[in-house]
């Protein structure tokens, strides 16, 4: 099972110059920043890459200014929003051919969903390596049963049942973290 170092601890270690902690912090929030840029603001890859690098450079340079290490996620979210908006205002976004793709304002529903998705991915850290890998490869990386089976040296015919079992474990992990949401059917952040 993966060790789940709280993000706040990673921040403290980054501040102390721990390069491994920085690499892990980037890894942990890379999907989040990428998703906000590409789904929340619908930036094309070229601009999303600029935003991605600028966000992490700002995080690195300004980590000392973060007052509460527990607030790293909303801080990164806010930085990403600002950098995306700057990018849009700079007018350097690639020309949009389909008017329906025009996103002057962020898609707030998409950003709320990205926050929920980050909670789920954090909960996946509490699963076995095997479960986490199978769920990520199938749903987030869109890999086939055959590819997953080949990569993880598992019979392809067992992947579907493993996915189902791992989803149950993930649900238990989430409900263990957030029992009020499970009881009320609502969204409660802890």
């Amino acid at each position: 099972m993966a060790q789940t170092v709280p993000a706040a601890q990673l921040v403290a270690r980054c501040r102390a110059g721990d390069e491994g902690a920085w690499a892990e912090l980037v890894e942990r929030f890379s999907r989040y920043v990428y998703a906000i840029a590409t789904q929340g603001f619908r930036l094309r890859d070229h601009d999303a890459e600029d935003v991605f690098q600028e966000v992490f450079a700002k995080v690195y340079e300004r980590l000392d200014s973060l007052r509460n290490d527990e607030a790293i996620q909303p801080w990164i979210a806010q930085l990403t929003r600002r950098v995306c908006l700057d990018k849009l205002r700079s007018g350097s976004r690639e020309e949009i051919t389909d008017e329906s793709e025009l996103a002057v304002d962020p898609d707030e529903d998409a950003i709320a969903r990205i926050d929920d998705a980050l909670d789920v991915h954090e909960a996946m850290r509490g699963l076995s390596d095997n479960c986490r890998e199978i769920l990520d490869r199938f749903f987030a990386r869109d890999e086939t049963y055959r590819t997953i089976g080949d990569e993880l040296e598992l019979p392809a015919g067992t992947i579907a049942s493993r996915i189902s079992r791992c989803l149950v474990k993930l649900r238990d992990e989430l409900e263990g973290r957030n029992p009020l949401a499970a009881e009320s059917g609502g969204q409660v952040n802890v």
Partner: protein
């Protein structure tokens, strides 16, 4: 009733696909370019001609001075000169 049914969970896992590997690696290298960044900035502050050359053509000037003009360093210098 759980809020985390299979459809919702699978959708939320899928909502965070991995960022391109090269982007992640470049961001992870930031601490390693810090020393080079500080050296280039110090030289630019001490040498006007070098500073002008950097602003005119960052990558070529870095290469001429023996630095690898890789993205984290180039981006950091662009931000530095844009802010200064």
């Amino acid at each position: 009733m759980s809020t985390y049914d299979e459809d919702r969970l699978s959708g939320l896992i899928a909502a965070l696909p991995p960022a391109p590997e090269g982007w992640v690696l470049a961001a992870q290298e930031l601490p390693f370019v810090r020393t080079e960044l500080d050296a280039v900035v110090a030289k630019a502050e001490a040498d006007d001609e070098f500073r002008r050359a950097l602003i005119a053509d960052l990558e070529a000037t870095l290469a001429r001075e023996g630095y690898e003009p890789e993205r984290p360093l180039v981006d950091a210098l662009r931000r530095h000169f844009a802010d200064s």
